[in-house]
């Protein structure tokens, strides 16, 4: 059951469009929570024994598993259905956005300019260059990628993103598709209660669905989401206002932060690094180190690193790199995350990792208990399903 978006930018679809969205959501659920288990069985019972017979050992890493799976008919069907389902997510929402483009843009503008209890600014900067890593690839198979604009004061890619994740998540990211932000903001609040951030930055925030939870969890803090795509920010700003959250949205490149040295308490990002070329990841880490106050926190929600995962899990998670137009996904996951942090100036001893159950689906006491346990690195770590645990790492800047 797919519900209308829970804010004023919701454009109810025709009934047949909604039925298609529900079908696609069910199809994704079938692939990710059903076929994925059968594919694992297929690997254990057929593909892995064949590999062992031929090589006299198990596959050493995700790449070897991938090579071994390539000709397997079940892998082909899993991949083909998953690839189609991803395309169908966008195709189930684009006609709705196309039909309502003018109304969405007008409503977004009215929300941004209207009197609401929420403050928050929108600052666009046309001098910000759209990186080739965004402009040249239809990331996640999204037609037009993140940066395209189709009208004056356009917010349409924001509308596509918001409506798409509503279908994509098949209700596994909460009513506001904000579970990642809720989980990480509440993790910090619960596990580090003495830490009282005044300024919080969310890099690569898209429509701010995971930025708003920081404003809700730390109402005293000034929360700013940055992204390079203006249409996402226009939409995100309107969305936050509709939800009564005070968030600033600023067009800014995370690799060139227009922010003073040592002025920010938390630099956060979620599902961001795996879309960046490695050179940009390194620049972003250095910028984060520069703008963080001593004692500030660099916090990243991401996919777990390949060096901590088993060969099959590495292969499974890297699927998106090969078939979902996310070419930087595996190169990022192949990195040593501690090394990335120390290369940027952080102290290795201040590094930590975490695995969080979904905050909006978990009783509070159980969430806190599990959040304190540290990472597990198993088949539920970062694997999108009903059992997912979000992976993250953080490093405190020396005080």
């Amino acid at each position: 059951m797919i519900k209308n978006l829970p804010h004023d930018l919701a454009m109810p679809p025709h009934r047949d469009e909604r039925t298609r969205q529900e079908f696609v959501a069910s199809l994704r659920h079938h692939v990710l929570d059903g076929m994925s288990h059968s594919m694992r069985d297929r690997y254990e019972n057929v593909v892995k024994p064949d590999f062992e017979k031929a090589h006299g050992r198990e596959p050493a890493d995700g790449e070897e598993v991938h090579d071994a799976m390539l000709g397997d008919p079940y892998f082909c069907f899993y991949s083909s259905v998953r690839y189609n389902a991803q395309q169908m997510v966008h195709q189930s929402v684009i006609p709705l956005v196309n039909r309502n483009l003018e109304a969405i843009n007008e409503k977004a503008k009215a929300l941004r300019e209207g009197d609401t209890s929420a403050g928050g600014t929108l600052t666009l900067n046309p001098d910000v260059e759209i990186p080739r890593s965004v402009s040249s690839i239809d990331v996640h198979l999204t037609p037009g990628s993140y940066h395209s604009e189709y009208a004056e004061d356009d917010a349409s890619t924001g509308a596509i993103y918001d409506n798409s994740i509503n279908v994509f998540a098949f209700n596994q990211m909460g009513r506001y598709t904000n579970d990642i932000g809720m989980s990480f903001a509440n993790f910090i609040k619960a596990v580090y209660p003495e830490f009282e951030p005044k300024k919080i930055l969310d890099a690569g925030c898209t429509i701010g669905h995971n930025t708003v939870p920081w404003a809700q969890t730390f109402p005293e803090a000034e929360v700013t989401g940055i992204d390079i795509a203006p249409a996402l920010l226009r939409y995100g700003s309107a969305r936050a206002k509709s939800l009564g959250a005070t968030v600033n949205f600023t067009q800014m490149d995370a690799t060139k932060l227009d922010i003073e040295d040592e002025s920010v308490d938390v630099v956060f990002s979620s599902m961001f690094l795996h879309e960046l070329p490695l050179k940009d990841i390194r620049k972003y880490f250095k910028e984060a180190f520069r703008v963080l106050k001593p004692g500030g926190l660099f916090l990243t929600m991401e996919l777990p690193p390949n060096n901590k995962m088993g060969a099959y899990e590495s292969f499974y998670l890297d699927w998106d790199c090969f078939y979902n137009k996310e070419p930087y996904y595996k190169p990022f996951r192949d990195q040593d995350y501690v090394q990335l942090c120390t290369d940027a100036g952080f102290n290795e001893n201040q590094f930590f990792e975490t695995e969080l159950p979904r905050f909006t689906f978990t009783p509070y006491e159980s969430f806190v208990e599990q959040a304190k346990q540290g990472p597990v690195f198993d088949g539920s770590t970062g694997r999108f399903s009903e059992e997912i645990r979000w992976y993250g790492f953080g490093v405190w800047k020396d005080a």
Binding site: R15, D16, T19, R20, F23, V24, L27, G71, F75, C76, F77, S79, S80, V81, Y83, N84, A85, Q87, M88, H90, Q91, I94, P95, V97, N98, L101, E102, I137, D138, L141, T142, P143, G144, S148, Y150, A151, S156, I160, F322, Y323, K325
Partner: protein, 112 residues
Amino acid sequence: MSQIPMKHRGKQPRFFAAEGVDELVSMVLELTTEVWVVKKRLYLLEKVAGDQGIDLTPSIENYDLDEQEIKDLDAMRSHLIKRILRATEGSYSSTQRVKDGPADAGQNAEAA
């Protein structure tokens, strides 16, 4: 104001060694989507009518379509086929020459 495209840029991955199987999977999935859309709509239609005291089944069996209705249904069916066969667009250049279908083909089909 321009239209947001429906298809991503760049190559479609190929999973199957045999040509055409990837397209067939897409077709089956699109087809299944549309079958579900219709099934749900029919369910609702019969429920709504039943709630209003109308038993639709005999009327549906005996209904005669007029010429305009036949044309409208032809267009709807062409659209449905185009949607189901979208996977072949661009994969095989010859299919790009296929148009929406002959204008009067549906009429004959309905008459038959």
